[in-house]
Symmetry: C2
Subunit: 372 residues, 2 copies
């Protein structure tokens, strides 16, 4: 399989083993560890592409399930692909639809063929298979395509976790067989196995045996304690090729990111920073702040005194609280902008600490600072 | 009364009598005829100040009634005034609260003292008087303060229109008496009189007798036919001082603006362009377009082929339709941006036509083009 996405491992932290690298796609390159803002329906909620670039975002995520339902992958393809459709010139990763399909209440039990689900919009029934997911994602034209996998919920018994992991492995083979290698896209396989170390290791071996340009780690951060997630990352680490990027799917709170980086993860995504922003919760150097609360009505300082973003340079907590109180869209824009900027800056700090071989100490200080 | 706002009449169109001028306030100057975007609650919905400046907006409007209820004028004053609170460095005009109070269903009949109204938020009762309106607007710190008036609905019988107009006149005197002249703000009086030419003339004489820095024309575009509005503007025109700006309140559809300019109006405001934008209706050089409609799902052209705005240069109808269909905020941002830009460019065209003494022909062509 031709690789349209390359990974260069720039530095491994001597203190911690954390990795700093660069991923290059047909739409540019980005430094890792990286946080990818989520643009579920062809837009990172409230933000323009220019604003995403202004905060330093080089890659965003799109959701296959949502884009398949609306506007439909054919319309996106007619527009020239997702990059053109949404006017985003940099890299895009699309998930496979697997996570959304499996988190739907209306789904039926998956079969070997795939999974039938009921649309949350109009109740219509749809069959997603590995082949279908590849076809949709290749029409969307994302730079990184995720394999169609089954994401187990937590907790799950070992027998079920094993059955599911093995099916994900067979589905990966079907994804590869359905792959159109002439398109400038790269396919990442996904390691599953719930919280069973031996299943995770088995999944890592099977998945990496296909020599793909990168690997996702799925089915974590779905409710299990942080130490179990970390134990799984540690279990598979020796089996993951050092020269390929590792993407911990759906993980994006600062503490989980910091833990993941310590265990060799290169890529992260999460709706958390944008979703909590719309609920009026902002991340600051002094901890999280619920800006809707009454004490901020007369607080004329910035969201975060330690932040130099556009929002903190121009608007007060009192004004943003007012905007959220009266349901003004600008309020959602400002909290979203700030939260994404905060995470982008955190990733920069992390990369710098790795480069300077002090990520272990940075991680310790950071966890203490945020009380974890 | 010291005048903190000056008007310079630059040119009167030889073909039509339409006026082109410049208003200077403590926060800058703007060319007339001008359209003022409405920022009801301390924000022009969906837009940042930088975006408003990018489309060429030099003055926006704020609503006293809404800002009084939330966040309250004291918080705005503590922030340093509305300009600082919302980070808008250019001019602001605030209405008096009169129109909102009188359009509330929960209001009681106004008395000579003022009007008691029930908050639409929490049902609390409030008394607005001319003195109170001045006090609030002076705390907000707007450049142009509107007198507290009674806005009659339409139709209304002549006796009631006369009573109301005379009370508005007495209220103006109370506004002037309550005015703090040390603040860098200017007070505009308001001409009322419904659709009775003799009452309008009487109101114009009374209002202009106070020699204020500018004058509003209220109680029009409240349901009466366009020719009645135009007749009222023609009736009062000879009584309005040429060296003062004339502001036709709440008027902002392109045809009404064009008609108003023809009859000597200098300033306009309306929620229409921003409100219809949020409903998915955009103004284009080919007429209004309801972008939510199905035929646009595969239309990869810009909102308006004749437009050079940020939105038309970067996004397709298909993408914007998709965003609106899935309730994405970016969709509302893009339609709002385009509609405001469209109106700003229309005002530029109007000013150019006046300068070149061809506004009469421009008006005729324009009305034909939009089918009025």
């Amino acid at each position: 399989m031709t690789s349209h996405v390359q990974f260069e491992l720039i530095h491994t932290c001597k203190q911690s083993g954390a990795r700093h690298g660069r991923v290059t796609t047909p739409h540019g390159s980005f430094l890792t560890p990286v946080f990818m803002p989520v643009g579920t329906k062809g837009t990172v909620k409230t933000m323009t592409p220019e604003e995403l670039m202004a905060i330093g975002s080089e890659i965003i995520l799109g959701n296959t399930y949502h884009l398949y339902l609306r506007p439909g992958e054919d319309i996106v393809a007619e527009a020239g692909g997702l990059h053109t459709f949404m006017n985003w010139p940099r890299s895009i990763l699309t998930d496979s639809g697997g996570f959304q399909v499996f988190s739907l209440k209306a789904k039926k039990k998956p079969s070997e063929e795939g999974v039938v689900f009921t649309s949350h919009i109009d109740g219509s029934r749809h069959l997603f298979t590995p082949e279908k997911s590849m076809q949709i994602q290749q029409k969307l034209g994302s730079d990184i395509v995720m394999a169609f996998d089954e994401c187990t919920s937590w907790p799950v018994d070992k027998e079920e976790a094993k059955r599911s992991m093995e099916m994900t492995s067979r589905w990966l083979e079907r994804c590869i067989n359905a792959w159109d290698d002439t398109k400038p896209q790269a396919l990442f396989g996904i390691v599953q196995g719930s919280t069973f170390a031996d299943l995770r290791i088995e999944s890592a071996k099977r998945t990496t045996s296909f020599d793909l340009p990168g690997y996702g780690i799925g089915g974590l951060s779905v409710g299990e304690p942080a130490d179990q997630m970390n134990a799984m990352l540690e279990a598979i680490e020796p089996y993951m090729p050092t020269q390929k990027p590792r993407y911990l799917m759906g993980v994006g709170t600062p503490d989980y990111i910091a833990d993941g980086v310590l265990r060799g993860v290169d890529m992260f995504d999460c709706v958390m920073p944008t979703r909590t922003a719309r609920n009026g919760r902002v991340m600051t150097s002094e901890g999280d702040v619920t800006i809707r609360n009454a004490p901020f009505a007369r607080d004329f300082g910035p969201l975060d005194p330690g932040c130099d973003c556009y929002v903190c340079q121009n608007y007060s907590r009192a004004y943003i609280r007012h905007l959220l109180s009266v349901d003004e869209i600008l309020g959602l824009r400002l909290t979203t902008w700030h939260n994404l900027y905060y995470l982008m800056r955190l990733m920069e700090e992390i990369r710098q600490a790795i480069l300077e071989d002090r990520y272990g100490s940075w991680h310790e200080d950071f966890m203490r600072k945020i009380g974890k």
